[in-house]
Amino acid sequence: MQSNQLTESGQLRHFLTIEGLKRPLLTEIMDRAEQFSSISHRQVKKVPLLRGKTIINLFFENSTRTRSTFELAAKRLSADVMNFNISTSATSKGESLLDTLHNLEAMHTDMFVVRHDQSGAAEFIAQHVAPHVSVINAGDGCHAHPTQAMLDMFTIRRHKQDFANLRVAIIGDLLHSRVARSQIQALATLGVGEIRVIGPQTLLPRDSHTLGVHVYHDMASGLKDVDVIITLRLQLERMQGALLPSAREYFRCYGLTEEKLKYAKPDAIVMHPGPINRGVEIASSVADGPQSVILEQVTHGIAIRMAVMSMALASQSEQAEIE
């Protein structure tokens, strides 16, 4: 089911998935993030835009980077933030989720930032919140992680400007990756020239070819002349059964080493959504090397999340004005 993440006038009300969003909206998110990123360099790293708004980080799954950058983004906008880390195993999921939600709503919350290990959780919550509440998806199961995709697009744009002429390769465990799914949708929407996915057959979705991407099973041909390399984390905790012989074997074939990096263009940038498994999907010398923009991605996460949160809450103001 596709919930309505846009208002009638086409503004963001929720941010659940990249799917279905148009290029001008993605560009607006990046443009706003560009403006917000200057705030981090001030003496007072804060603007009063969302003063008095209450934002709850509802994390049903562990996260360090995403949760802390969402928290920091909300604080830079002067919102009040609460963090809830909730274990999903305790009670039956559907019921506890709605109960939790209604309790938190009763505290006059304006926005939920939701991470959950079940695909569709954020969407489900968006369908059940009161009309004045916005929901941001901070990662749901294997489905989507739209703010991660946008901070990646923002990082690419900072280094490469024009999307149309780019060749972007995503390496690794695409089957379990909500990040890759959202990235591919964003790259396609922004009109990237060529999107490649590289990985063993067992870790690529069976419908890869329908995503409009070129599929490669070896690094030499997959990385040839690419401008952007996105390595994905080998999601050991998500893997069921024997999809891979071993992490060492994976590193030999698909780990990004200095040697394999040479197949790409000399000015190619190397990205990773984190946390990185050194020596599994990426060599330390590459992760820490001159072409790596991995830590920049983290920094950009704050500005992108500021943009998305302020845009969603602004559309709520517009709604209120109309009513």
Binding site: E28, L49, S315, E321
Partner: protein, 176 residues
Amino acid sequence: MTMPKTTAEIDSLLEEMAETIREELADKDPLLVGIHTGGVWVAKALQKILGEDFFDAPLGTLNIAYYRDDFTRIGMHPQVSPSDLPFEVDNRHLVLVDDIFYSGRTTRAALNEIFDYGRPASVTLAVLIERDGRELPIRPDIVGASVILPRNQHLKLRNKDGLQLEIRAAGAPYAE
């Protein structure tokens, strides 16, 4: 006074304003800050009259969109360039410039933003036009012209081969 509209009329107001700034601030190494978008145009014009060396640093610009008091009523404002103060404001004398002073709310927002950058020694507010309708205990120090306009009329500074002022009735579109 009658409404100045033409580029020539506005230029002579700017000359007078620049002279007052020179008299009051010449010995204070002042810094210049314009409020987007019209205030930046006025600030640039003043800078040109006063000369490159009058101010101690390049022009600073403020985009007060994130400091406005109407977010919960009307949401995000259209995108303009972000604020950029290319100097330390601590213990400095600032000249804050806007095109039209009306309710005082823009100035309130700009002052709040300036104080997030540091603690200036003083802020002098210079505006091209002051119109009646103040809603806050804030008033400009240096004024090009003071005018009285009916509530339903809006005043807008344009920048097309020089600065011009345009009056329109509420709801009517601006001529492009």
